[in-house]
């Protein structure tokens, strides 16, 4: 088995790395690049904790090979804030206490960002179905949905 050289863009930066053919993008982000914001909750695409955006598509990074990132544009939770200015979603998650343990939070933020990019004015039902790929075991989702609603409201006004 030999390493595959990959050149990609992560949160706007050009990044080059070597990876093995069976390494997932999640493995690469966490173990090779130190970007541990994406979490492995299941490794099988069932929990959404590893959500990232690849070329404007929301995906589970555990279901993407590191080798597939060649030439792509990847967004992770580490790229959501601008300097010390939090993204509106991040701010609203804090204000609404939309996190308890916080392990699912990076995945929810990325999924919510993708949701609002495609549907800036979602109904509660659209939010719930749009975020159905992200499991949260602490909150019962109530405060997460409210945070996304509030963020959508603020972002529309901006």
């Amino acid at each position: 088995m030999t390493g595959i050289a990959v050149s990609t863009t992560i949160n706007g930066d050009t990044i080059e790395y070597l990876c093995q053919p069976d390494e997932t993008l999640l493995d690469v982000l966490r173990d090779r690049l130190g970007l541990t914001g994406a979490k492995e909750g299941c490794g099988t695409g069932d929990c959404g904790a590893c959500s990232v955006i690849v070329d404007d598509r929301l995906v589970c990074s555990c279901l993407v090979l590191g080798a597939e990132a060649e030439g792509r544009r990847i967004e992770t939770v580490e790229g959501m804030a601008h300097g010390d200015q939090l993204h509106t979603l991040q701010q609203k998650f804090l204000e609404h206490a939309a996190l308890q343990c916080g392990i699912c939070t990076p995945g929810f933020l990325i999924a919510a960002k993708d949701l609002l990019a495609k549907n800036p004015d979602p109904s509660e039902e659209e939010i719930r179905f749009g975020l159905a790929g992200n499991l949260c075991r602490c909150t019962g989702y109530d405060k997460i949905v409210r945070a996304v609603q509030d963020a959508a409201h603020v972002m529309k006004g901006a």
Partner: protein
């Protein structure tokens, strides 16, 4: 283990045919990577087909639509023409996994994974879809229902790749629909499912119909008797009753962690009824 990214279907077929050990096709990866993670497969060669020209596109042809093998299901939902012509097929494709999985999974992958519970397959079968198979000896086109032969098995020979799914233009006064049953509202594998495609005449009498059931047998079931129960009738209560009964009777399900034989039989009938009602309305029937 090797990972390659061929640029032509011929190259992919050649690599696949010539591979010594186990070779796997990678499009969306939502089944392959899960199997690799679980240690169920350890391919010697991964052939990523996403760089092959045309495989990532939905083309409108004279006959209808050609959906490339690397088109993610999310893209099906974004194609207005396809959605208009085959809403049932698109609904089915959009039910696979989460938004995250939608961004990756493909209907060809769903078909080749050969799970009896695959969501898009009953809808494709009801729609009369065909698969374009590229192989070492050229190309052939086969009905979708001829692809899976048993759970996890397909009729594809060594070196063969499905490069596209063909859907004819929908006939006038026709409609299709797909419904599945899952315990939650999202994220589950179908416990049982039904796809219905039908055409009506001016009087609302059904002139053609195809009914397919998923997770009801080792492979997708195209239930001819269910179509017969509809053809020549309006979709009245008697026809629906007959359809439900025939579908329940046609099932050969199993008891497993997702459902019981009893449950699958009953709900197959219920879903066929409901899907037929939607398809009929889409066809313009009242």
């Amino acid at each position: 283990m090797r990972y390659i990214r061929p640029l032509s279907i011929e190259d992919a077929v050649g690599q696949l045919a010539g591979s010594a050990g186990m070779a796997a096709i990678l499009a969306g990866g939502s089944d392959l990577l899960v199997r690799m993670k679980g240690g169920f497969v350890e391919p010697d060669l991964i052939i990523d087909i996403k760089s092959i020209a045309g495989l990532g596109e939905i083309r409108e042809t004279a006959e209808g639509f050609s959906i490339g093998a690397a088109v993610p299901c999310a893209v099906l939902g974004e194609n207005a023409a396809l959605k208009k012509a085959w809403p049932g097929v698109v609904e089915a494709a959009k039910l696979i996994g989460s938004k995250q999985v939608q961004g990756r999974c493909t209907i060809v992958g769903n078909l080749c994974n050969a799970s009896p519970a695959a969501d898009s397959v009953p809808a494709l079968v009801a729609a009369g879809a065909r698969a374009v198979v590229a192989g070492p000896s050229g190309k052939r086109t086969i009905p979708v229902e001829a692809v899976p032969t048993a759970p996890g098995r397909t009729s594809l020979a060594k070196g063969e790749i499905i490069e596209a799914i063909l859907l004819d233009s929908q006939a006038p006064h026709s409609g299709d629909a797909y419904l599945r049953f899952i315990p939650r509202t999202e994220m589950d594998i179908a416990v049982v499912s039904a796809g219905v495609n039908l055409t009506i005449d001016a009087a609302g009498v059904i002139t053609a119909a195809r009914v397919a059931l998923g997770a009801a047998a080792p492979t997708v079931l195209l239930v001819a008797e269910a179509a017969e129960a509809l053809i020549g009738r309006k979709l009245d209560e008697a026809a629906l009753e007959r359809l439900a009964k025939v579908c329940a009777g046609a099932c050969r399900p199993i008891d497993d962690k997702r459902g019981t034989i009893e449950f699958r039989r009953k709900v197959a009938g219920v879903l066929a009824r409901r899907a037929a009602t939607t398809a009929y309305a889409r066809a313009g029937g009242k």
